[in-house]
C-alpha cells in the first residue's frame, strides 16, 4: 500500500511540475522517476484513482502531519525535502532569539534538515523550513518562532 501512496504523490508532483513548465526530462531527473513513467503519469495512464485521491488528502494535512507521513513513506531526507518544497506554497520566516542555548535538539528533530548550529545558536534555513513547528514545540528554552510570510 505505501508504494501506491508514493506513486500517487509522485503523480501529483509530476503534474505540478509540468504546470510550472518543466519538461518531462527535467521532471524525471528532479523527482527520480524514469521518463516513461512520467509520460504515463502525464497522460493519465497506469495510475489508480484511489491512490491519487489519497495523495490529494495527504496534501491537505497540516505541515507537521504532512512531513511525518512523507517521512514514513520516503525515509530519505532528500526526497522529503523535494516533495515538501514542491507542494508547500507557504514561506516561513524563522526567528531564533537570544535564549537559544545551542542544545541542538531542533537540529536533530528537523526532518527537513533545515537547521544547523552556528556559534552555539541554531540557524534555520528559511528555504527548507516547512512550518511543521516541531522545533518550536520541543525547544527547551522556547527560543524559536516561525512566522508565516503572507504573499502580497
Amino acid at each position: 500500500m505505501p508504494k501506491h501512496i508514493v506513486s500517487g504523490l509522485k503523480y501529483l508532483e509530476s503534474v505540478e511540475l509540468r504546470k510550472r513548465g518543466l519538461s518531462q526530462k527535467e521532471i524525471s531527473s528532479q523527482i527520480g522517476v524514469d521518463r516513461s513513467t512520467i509520460s504515463h503519469y502525464l497522460n493519465g495512464r497506469n495510475i489508480s484513482m484511489d491512490s491519487i485521491e489519497l495523495a490529494k488528502t495527504i496534501l491537505e494535512l497540516s505541515p507537521k502531519d504532512f512531513i511525518l507521513i512523507t517521512k514514513v513513506l520516503f525515509g530519505d531526507y532528500k526526497e522529503i525535502r523535494q516533495i515538501v518544497t514542491i507542494f508547500n506554497m507557504n514561506h516561513y520566516d524563522p526567528q531564533i532569539n537570544d535564549g537559544c542555548i545551542g542544545c541542538g535538539l531542533c537540529v536533530d528533530l528537523c526532518e527537513m534538515k533545515a537547521i544547523n548550529l552556528d556559534s552555539l545558536k541554531a540557524k534555520i534555513n528559511p528555504r527548507y523550513c516547512c512550518g511543521c513547528l516541531m522545533c518550536v514545540e520541543n525547544c527547551p528554552t522556547k527560543s524559536i518562532e516561525i512566522l508565516e510570510v503572507k504573499n502580497g
Binding site: I101, G102, G104, L105, K121
Partner: protein, 366 residues
Amino acid sequence: MVNVKEIEGKDFNIKRSAEEDRILSFKDHVCIGCGLCEATCPVEAICLDEVAPIERKYTETYFSGHEKIAQNYALFKNDNEVKAKLCIDENKCVLCGMCSGVCPAGALDLTIGGVSIKENEAYPTLIASAEIDEDKCLFCKKCEAACPRASITIDRTLPNRADLVTGEIEVCEDDCIYCGACAELCPAEAIVVDKTTGEESIVIDKEKCVYCLVCKKACPVNAIKAVCRSCSYGEYDLDPAKAAITGNAIIDKETCIKCGWCEGVCPADAATVKQAFKGTLEIDEEKCGTCGACIDVCPCNVLSFPKSSGPGDRGTHLVKEEDYCIHCGACAKACPNGALTVTRTDIDYTPTSSKSWIAAFEALKN
C-alpha cells in the same frame, strides 16, 4: 533521538545519537557537590543529592564528646556509600552542556562527536589552571602532602648513598622547609621530621647518626651543615651534581580543582595556580552549629575547627584559609543553618557569542 542513560556504579553517561553523538558524562569521584550545575541547568534536569556530598573526612573517634557532630556523622555515613552526588533526569536533559561548562571540578563533560566542548572555541570555558615547573621544583613533596584532592604525585630519585664521610651534622632551622627528604633517606633512621603545619620540627639523633652525609646531599635547600670529623677541612664540600634530587611533579588534571594549596606551600615558587572564581567566604559564628558538614564537603580543606588547648577539646570555632577557597559554594549548600555565605564577584571564562551562555556564567555571580 531518544536519550539513553548508561549507569556504571556512581558514574553515568547520557547519550543522544543523531547527526553527531552528544554524550554527557559524570564522574562521581571528581564531583565536589557544589551544585552549580543544578542552579545552571536550563531544564531543571539536575538534582544534587542533599546527603551524599557529605563525605566524612574525620573518624568517629575524632568526634567523640561532640554529641551533635557524632549524630550527624552516623546519619550521613550509611547513605554515603550508595548514592551518587548527582542525579540527572535523562528524559529532561537536552544535552546542552551548560552544566559541564560551569562545573569547577570538571566532573561533568559534554562531548559532541567525540570532542569535549572544552576544546570547542564556540563554548565558553572557565579559566583555571595549576602547573608545577619541574625546573624549579625541589621535589620536596610539600605540595603532595598539602593537596586536598591527592592530585599531586612527586616521583623523585634521591642521590646515591655513596661516599661515606664522617662528620658533625647540624640543621639550620631557618632554612629548613621540613620536606622530609633527609629523613626518608637516612640509613640510620636518625632523623625525625614533623611536617604538621605550624608545628614543624626536625630532630637529628646524634647517637644514631652514622655521619654518612646523605641527608646533606638530599636537602633541597642546603639547610644541613656538616663538618668533616676525620679531617680538619672545615665544612664538607659537596659536589652539587652528585647531590641533586631528580624527579617529576605530576598533577592529575582530572581531580585537581586549582585551589592553590600547592602554590601556597611550595618553597621554590614552582607551582602556579590560577583560580576561575574570585569572591569571599563569610562565616556567621552565631548561626554556626559546629556540625562539621562544611568541613566535610569543602574540596579545598579551607575550613577547619582548629585543634585547641587541651586533650578532648578540639575547639568549636570554625576558621577558614580563604586564599585556597575556590568559592564553589559547596559549604554554603551543605550548612544546615545557613551560617556560610559564598559570594562570587568575578568569574574568568573564555569569550563566547552566545548570550544565553554568557547569562548562565554571569548568573554564577551573586
